[in-house]
Symmetry: C3
């Protein structure tokens, strides 16, 4: 996929300055720009790079005036940043586009496949499952029985979706993600061993959700584990049975949320956070990375840190003292010595 | 799969009160019960929900006396809770049942496959591997050479089992789990780089073990990494080479256990715990979530917390002071001031 | 694969003492040696085991003089340890050897496959991808479009490599690893939801890198996420977009590194460490397990611990006081009491 400066300028309604036939096949940041790539200059802080970059084409604002000779071909546009963002989006769409159904698939006769769908090699789709229009399903993915995947959803390779799970519209599930494995529920028996508690619920992922690679979301014991509209979940995250994650909440990598906990909407949860089971976390709460949440958080928009966590500000204050605890203890020693002396 | 109140009452040896022909196709909790589901009322605390639930059928104890009109069909039994548990188990078994071998599999000629086995699409089974009777192996799973899987074991989709590994009877391996990847062993060389130490051992998973989704259990350098009978391991757990986990120990999600550590039986290990290598953890030890274990624990049934961990009770006491460290330091400041004054 | 004492002695240029026809098919440690295995005795500390081991063959140094009768066949060599290491390596190579291309694969017509390659069942290789000579690709792995895999690289089962990613020579990627999933980048919008920032870069894994099972390495937003030569990465690790890991750095399991952070060469990073984004970590830095790195580390070869982390030594000192914080607070109470008394 190569494009000439001329073609790009036409798409952006811009003017070429330099060689209109120079071609690019990738995008770059101006400070790292290599030959054959297109970059942009919007922030004046980066102006110096335009004289040293190897990018073949640079998009600039109409009012950009070079004060030295420069080698890239320029494309002048009204707003270089937004033009570049447009190209980025177009490039991304073009790269990710696929269509057709591989001949190496196994789709149950009772499954229903929508229009304009891509299904890659070695995908298995079970009985009564429904795949919406415009879905893209990469190779080696398994979708069980009675599943439903909405429209325009992308499922990358090696994803595993268990029976009965529901994925919304315009979702993205990254490779290796597991949706609907059994919740971790075992009843202790008298002789120290455990009896498995059947996990007969499912997982419901609403619209516009993105789920990172190798993340695991367990099915409910009874009922549903629910990931609400617009939630963004990073890689290697554990979400246990019967959890609910509220709309537009964002969770960073390697965080774990235990069973039956309910997270509010618009929360921001850092990486490697642990949240124990059966809690309620209010809307808009922020949790610092590596924190451990041991009880419900009822106040909205509060910020928490520590393991176990408390107020972010108080944690920071305590931690400053923790770092110099040795000198504090020495001061206590000295105080004791002085008091003894006075006796 | 729909059942009428009449059919369910017969199975449970109960009596229908209401419409014997009303049908259900799922189970629910009484407080969330939707039309078309069956629920139960055992705990008197939940009695009020029977007047508001939308569940179509509710199982109740023989002695239940409604004091208001209610809409669900009732099934009266001797013990509502245990009848519901029976139904749950039956439902679960029915849902998970599969049989037959997909035509899209690749099974080595030298492999031996037991009776009544289900093998899903795109499963690959290597040379000399043995699959026991009644196993269920979901799509896109890879089982290497010389592996052995016992009877009535369920392996979900996308599981990867390396050569020479042994899985017991009645085990459950959830999707994406990796059994037998190389242990992380590298010998430092003079020039700052590393030479790989061959990892030629295997993994042995004994009977009745459950392993969560995307968990990784590495093969031993020499000998075996051993997961003993009845162990329950949650999702995204790392178990390194030559580790041994004792019988009926339970480990919550995202915990990591380093090489050659030996965990006793009947331990309970919380989520996101880290345990360093070459340790011995006694039987019945409990470890709080997010703790870091840096040395062996010799006393049985003790409880540990912190990173690095010490006695749970002492940790709790220290942590209370940590939370108010700022006020403690202010008191030290004040004490110093008073002493200075007195001089 | 069985070998007689005679055959092994020939390979090692050693002398058989005992039955030259006894056969072994595995290696063992002398203290656990079972019948049918070969072990070695190099460290005098383990001498006693040679009289009790069940190993069928033991490699010993030429000067070893038994002072009791012993049952294994001996093979005398100049250096028992290095002879065993040689056998270990040979055994490992023999076990891991595979060749040929399964008939159950899907390789795009435009892909280029090198010589002496093994490609297992249900592997999917996309358009324009290039696989180097001598590569071993296990079943159910997906390699996208425009990828490049160098020579003599091993990719285990269920690995997922997204479009445009580059893997070097002599690398090992363990099962379930995901290379090139989208970085976690979302621009907040006015109405509390998020717009996805296109992630159009790639991942470059240089030569001699080993990557553990179920680890995830995200593609760059623009440019490349780079894992440099000789890096060793354990299981279940998260490496975010635009991260760079310097040569020969070693990272233990379950660690997470956030976006755009750059790690130096020859670093050693413990398990379950978290490192926030946009930091620079100097060469040779060591980070203790479970630490959280919140700011750049500029001094080479320094050691860090804590969450947030500071100097390892200071952390240790503070933590000793933290453990006995209760008694320190009691001393402050007593000091206050005495001062009050004096008033």
């Amino acid at each position: 996929m190569k494009f000439s400066a001329q073609q790009i300028a036409q798409a952006l309604n811009g003017k070429v300055e330099g060689d209109p036939d120079v071609e690019v096949n990738n995008l770059s940041k101006i400070e790292h720009g290599e030959a054959g790539t297109l970059s942009f200059l919007a922030n004046p802080k980066y102006t110096s790079y335009i004289y040293t970059t190897n990018a073949s084409i640079v998009i600039v604002n109409n009012d950009f005036k070079p004060d030295k000779p420069l080698s890239p071909t320029l494309i002048r546009v009204e707003d270089a940043y937004s033009s570049f963002a447009t190209l980025l989006e177009m490039y991304n769409q073009a790269k990710k586009k696929r269509s057709g159904i591989s001949k190496h698939v196994s789709i149950a006769d009772s499954a229903k496949i929508g229009k304009d769908v891509y299904i890659g090699d070695f995908v298995s789709i079970g009985e009564n499952s429904v795949i919406g229009d415009g879905c893209i399903i990469h190779p080696n993915t398994t979708i069980g029985n009675n599943c439903k995947v909405g429209s325009i959803t992308t499922i990358y390779s090696g994803v595993n979706i268990y029976d009965d799970c529901i994925i919304g519209n315009e979702c993205t599930l990254h490779a290796g993600t597991v949706i609907g494995a059994d919740g971790f529920g075992f009843a202790p028996q008298n002789d120290n061993n455990y009896r498995k508690i059947p996990q007969i619920g499912n997982v419901i992922v609403e619209d516009l959700v993105e789920i990172g690679a190798n993340t695991t979301i367990d099915r409910a014991t009874i009922g549903s584990t629910v990931i609400k509209k617009g939630v963004k979940i990073d890689n290697l995250i554990q979400i246990a049975h019967n959890v609910t994650i509220g709309e537009n909440t964002v969770i960073a990598a390697q965080t774990g949320i235990s069973g039956s906990t309910s997270i509010g909407r618009n929360c921001m949860i850092g990486g490697q956070v642990g949240i124990i089971g059966h809690l309620e976390i209010a809307d808009g709460v922020m949790i610092a990375a590596q924190s451990g949440i041991g009880k419900s958080i009822k106040e909205e928009k509060t910020v928490h840190e520590g393991s176990p966590a408390f107020s972010y500000r108080d944690f920071q204050r305590s931690y400053i003292h923790f770092r110099r605890l040795d000198s504090i203890v020495k001061r206590v020693n000295e105080v004791e010595r002085q008091l003894k002396e006075k006796k």
